[in-house]
């Protein structure tokens, strides 16, 4: 068994560290995966506002490739996850569309496997089992888990967790020995898609999210979305700056992996100093 691994474009660019840390964690846990050969862009953030068939065909191509490998497709990127899930859902529920997409792709997508987020994969592995692999407890690290939009919405198909009151990320994070703070803005939108077109608005959104985390005692934010990470990391303007980690970075740390191997040196807000201060890195 195992999974087809779909990094997506972000993980080859701005979110390189997410790719690094994801692979590091999967390798460490011994989860079998193969990078989807000849994968292509899922069309996230723009295709679906342009052309519905295109927006489904792009992810469908990757889904079909994975299905041909007889493997479920897994991606760390929340935006890719959203597009893949959306296409999977659309193709399974709309035979007319499926036919159209078939003519585009030339091969049929049967939808045997649900596309997964890396969080699903870790969850399938089991939080307890993950916890058993932790060698370095991230004790006294207070973390605000931040889900953003794409993992949870629209709930028709995103379905990673309860869209209004999720908790799966907290459970994973707590396996590392860190404590997850209870805070309200876990599912607030950070505005990433407007990052360039309405920067002012985005700054205020990002800042209010980080501030709220600070008010609830968080020392850092953890996310599973390259868009959120980049946006929060870059656009926060509050008095206290919080580092924004990928969930796989924290897990990697807890597994005792080298911060460099996890890409922790590539953050905007210094991601190492907090860890140093806590003697975690």
């Amino acid at each position: 068994m195992g999974y087809a691994y779909y990094p997506g474009c972000s993980l080859h660019g701005t979110a390189k560290e997410y790719d690094m840390s994801s692979r590091a964690c999967l390798d460490f846990l011994g989860i079998q995966y193969r990078e989807l050969p000849d994968w292509s862009c899922c069309g996230a953030s723009s295709a679906h506002s342009v052309d519905h068939t295109l927006a489904v065909s792009l992810p469908a191509r990757n889904l079909t490739l994975a299905e041909q490998m007889n493997l479920p497709l897994m991606t760390p990127c929340a935006a890719c996850y959203s597009r893949l899930r959306g296409a999977h859902h659309a193709l399974r529920s709309d035979p007319g569309l499926a036919k159209k997409v078939l003519t585009v792709l030339g091969s049929e997508y049967k939808g045997r496997y649900e596309p997964l987020s890396i969080l699903d994969v870790l969850y399938q592995y089991g939080p307890e089992a993950v916890g058993e692999k932790v060698t370095k407890k991230l004790k006294e690290l207070r973390v605000a888990c931040y889900y953003g939009c794409l993992l949870l919405r629209p709930p028709d198909y995103a379905k990673f967790d309860d869209p209004e009151n999720p908790g799966k990320m907290e459970r994973l994070v707590e396996t590392t020995g860190a404590s997850a703070v209870d805070w309200p803005h876990r599912t607030e939108c950070c505005g990433a898609s407007l990052s360039l077109s309405d920067t002012k608005l985005v700054v205020s959104l990002a800042t209010s999210i980080v501030d709220m985390a600070v008010r609830h005692g968080a020392e850092c934010i953890v996310t599973a979305c390259p868009m959120c990470q980049a946006n929060l990391d870059m656009r926060q303007r509050g008095r206290t700056k919080l580092p924004v980690y990928y969930v796989t970075e924290l897990l990697g740390l807890a597994f005792g992996l080298e911060p460099k191997r996890l890409g922790l040196t590539t953050h905007m807000v210094n991601a190492i100093s907090l860890l140093r201060a806590k003697q975690l890195a």
Binding site: P155, D162, E164, N165, P184, H185, E188
Partner: protein, 658 residues
């Protein structure tokens, strides 16, 4: 030889305007078996009906086809007409050449041949009609009311007043239902207990009413006039006859749990009365928590009881009784608002539901009528009300309007202002629905008292520094709204009881997609069900407020009374019928019968020189409603539906395809 008479109706110009009636009559005359055809301007009129009667006699007709309007309109009229001429009424068939033909086609060249086909169909069918005779069944003049809330109490009182015996079955230890939990009632703000408890006492003391509390209906079989009902009366562990309701047992009981009556905002003992005015006014032991039952220890209540009423050895009683009619008044429950993760109910103690607020306002409630917020007991200064929680929401709740919430929220806002004049109230709403006598005025009054109505949904509630931050949108202003509240009240929707589908199955009635019981007709038969003899009262049929519930309960009672006024009932003769010679006795037909009307019967017959017994299906014509699902399940062709037989339908198909 069969002698069919065909009566083609002009219906003034309704038919004759677009169908060549003369041509239809001419063609009808050519159909084998038709011996008489005539046309009438209005066949349903007195002269029209006379002509049918006359023709039956003159032409010795033994079958009649009336080509006119829909059978749903006049089938009964013409059946009666035929009966008055001595013809069995079930030998009449209608050809619907008006609704299905003249009214929907304007071109005579297509409507006329179609009308001819329709007449052919009717003739083909009527030739295979046989005389049918309704049978009669006796009526057991005792009513069962399931549910002892205000609906059940009202229905029981009305039926008993008419002189018939009523049994009320209530699963809680007391009657009273939801209404007993309420503090005040809108729009008059009179005290709920003050108007309910006298009725509870009336019911309890009425000689015609027997109340079985702590009891549940387990099974209902039989049919209108003759239901057989099995009721399980759970062991109360208290001898009701001996108990004097002194209350010492309750006082001394060492075990307690959250009080259901107080919506978990207070506690009650293991031996308890849900509330002081409970009827019957006798305690009940909750065996789930009572230490005598859980640990085999304790027994204090038994020791302290001055009259020796506590009886740990009491056992459930199972009663099986006959009733002629059943009123379902099983009520509704409150939507599980935890589904709305954004409101944080369950995580934040100061987010409560409307019913919980009722208990906080009520002087018999856990705070003695002082509104205190659950987290720290502080008097709230700012209260946010959110309406449509679970209702009018296809994503998380139900699409329907829960109907009473607008008014009870207005009531809550008014009561809040009365109790805490300095408090401010915000109501987030989608629409305010105040249709009802004095309702709009009541809503206005809540506004006038300073309640701020914000049209919009709340997107998130989170605690911050001891407050609840309520984020939402004012869609009228197009702005985000943020309120720092001390208490948030969710107007949770009324939803069906979780076991409503199971109850519906016991009753043999249908329910809608949500679980509310379905009435026979939404407009014209609102308290009847598709199962004769089963009537509906109150919120089990859909969300309702108290006045509506009481009105419907009385209506259901009236239906029961008019049923009981007859000494026997005649049944629909269009029922299933078994040809025993063909029946293999597989009984698969009984599986699909919604009325459990098909039973197993052992017959004895001669086969060659031997006498053998075998099983066949047998239809209880009192139960059968004539749906015909069994006929299709029957491969043998043994099961048929009188009035819609296989022979008839196949002949109709053939006639239409000629």
């Amino acid at each position: 030889m069969i002698r069919v008479g065909v009566f083609v109706c002009w219906c003034g110009s309704n038919i004759a305007g677009t169908v060549d009636v003369g041509k239809v009559a001419e063609e009808a005359a050519r159909i084998p078996g038709v011996v008489h055809v005539e046309q009438n301007k209005y066949t349903c009129s007195d002269p029209g009906q006379d002509s049918i009667r006359k023709a039956i006699k003159e032409h010795r007709l033994d079958r009649v086809v009336v080509a006119a309007c829909s059978p749903r309109m006049h089938e009964n009229t013409f059946r009666k007409c035929a009966a008055s001429a001595g013809l069995n009424p079930y030998l009449v068939e209608m050809a619907n050449i008006r609704e299905h033909c003249s009214w929907v086609h304007s071109d005579m060249s297509v409507s006329t041949p179609k009308a001819v086909d329709i007449v052919r169909r009717a003739v083909a069918k009527v030739k295979r009609c046989v005389p049918l005779h309704p049978s009669t069944i006796p009526v057991e003049k005792r009513a069962l009311v399931i549910g002892g809330g205000i609906a059940g109490i009202q229905a029981a009182l009305d039926i008993a007043e008419a002189g018939y015996d009523v049994t009320v079955v209530e699963r809680e230890p007391t009657i009273g239902g939801r209404m007993a939990q309420l503090d005040k009632t809108f729009p008059t703000l009179d005290c709920s207990s003050c108007i309910l408890t006298p009725k509870m006492v009336d019911a309890a003391s009425h000689p015609g009413i027997r109340i079985l509390t702590y009891a549940e209906v387990e099974e209902i079989s039989g049919y209108v006039g003759n239901f057989e009902v099995r009721v399980r009366k759970r062991a109360r562990s208290v001898d009701e006859a001996r108990c004097t309701a002194c209350g010492i047992c309750i006082l001394k009981c060492p075990t307690s749990r959250d009080s259901e009556f107080n919506m978990g905002l207070g506690t009650r003992k293991a031996i308890y009365m849900p509330f002081p005015q409970a009827v019957p006014n006798k305690p009940t032991i909750d065996r789930e928590i009572c230490r005598h039952f859980t640990a085999g220890k304790c027994g204090i209540c038994q020791k302290v009881c001055p009259s020796g009423a506590v009886d740990f050895s009491q056992e459930d009683q199972v009663l099986t009784e006959k009733f002629g009619a059943v009123v379902a008044a099983t009520g509704a429950t409150q939507f599980s608002v935890e589904v709305y993760g954004e409101y944080g109910y369950g995580r934040y103690p100061d987010v409560i539901t409307g019913l919980e607020l009722e208990r906080l306002i009520s002087s018999t409630g856990p705070t003695d009528g002082k509104i205190r917020r659950p987290s720290d007991g502080k008097i709230p200064k700012t209260v946010v009300f959110i309406k449509c929680v679970g209702s009018r929401d296809e994503n998380k709740g139900y699409p329907y309007c829960s109907k009473a919430c607008c008014m009870y929220t207005a009531k809550h806002a008014i009561l809040l202002k009365e109790k805490i004049p300095s408090a401010s109230a915000y109501v987030f709403y989608m629409d305010v629905r105040a249709g009802g006598k004095d309702y709009e005025e009541f809503y206005k009054r809540s506004q006038e008292m300073g309640t701020r109505y914000v049209r919009g949904r709340v997107s998130r509630i989170y605690p911050l520094d001891g407050k609840l931050i309520v984020q939402g949108e004012d869609t009228l202003l197009g702005e985000r709204v943020e309120v720092e509240a001390d208490l948030v009240v969710l107007a949770a929707a009324m939803v069906p009881q979780p076991d409503a589908p199971e109850m519906a199955r016991k009753l043999g009635i249908s329910y809608n997609q949500y679980g509310f019981f379905s009435e026979a007709h939404p407009k014209l038969r609102p308290v009847e069900t598709n199962t004769a003899g089963v009537f509906l009262a109150g919120t089990c049929q859909g969300p309702k407020d108290i006045p509506e519930t009481v009105a419907q309960a009385s209506a259901a009672a009236a239906k029961v009374i008019s049923l009981f006024a007859k000494s026997e009932l005649s049944t629909n003769p269009n029922v299933a019928s078994v040809d025993e010679s063909l029946c293999s006795g597989c009984l698969w037909c009984s599986n699909v019968c919604p009325y459990k009307a098909i039973e197993e019967k052992i017959i004895t017959e001669r086969a060659g020189k031997e006498t053998v017994t075998r099983t066949v299906a047998s239809v209880n014509t009192g139960l059968c409603q004539g749906c015909g699902a069994c006929t299709v399940a029957c491969r043998d062709g043994a099961m048929n539906l009188l009035g819609f037989t296989n022979e008839q339908i196949l002949a109709e198909v053939e006639a239409l395809c000629l």
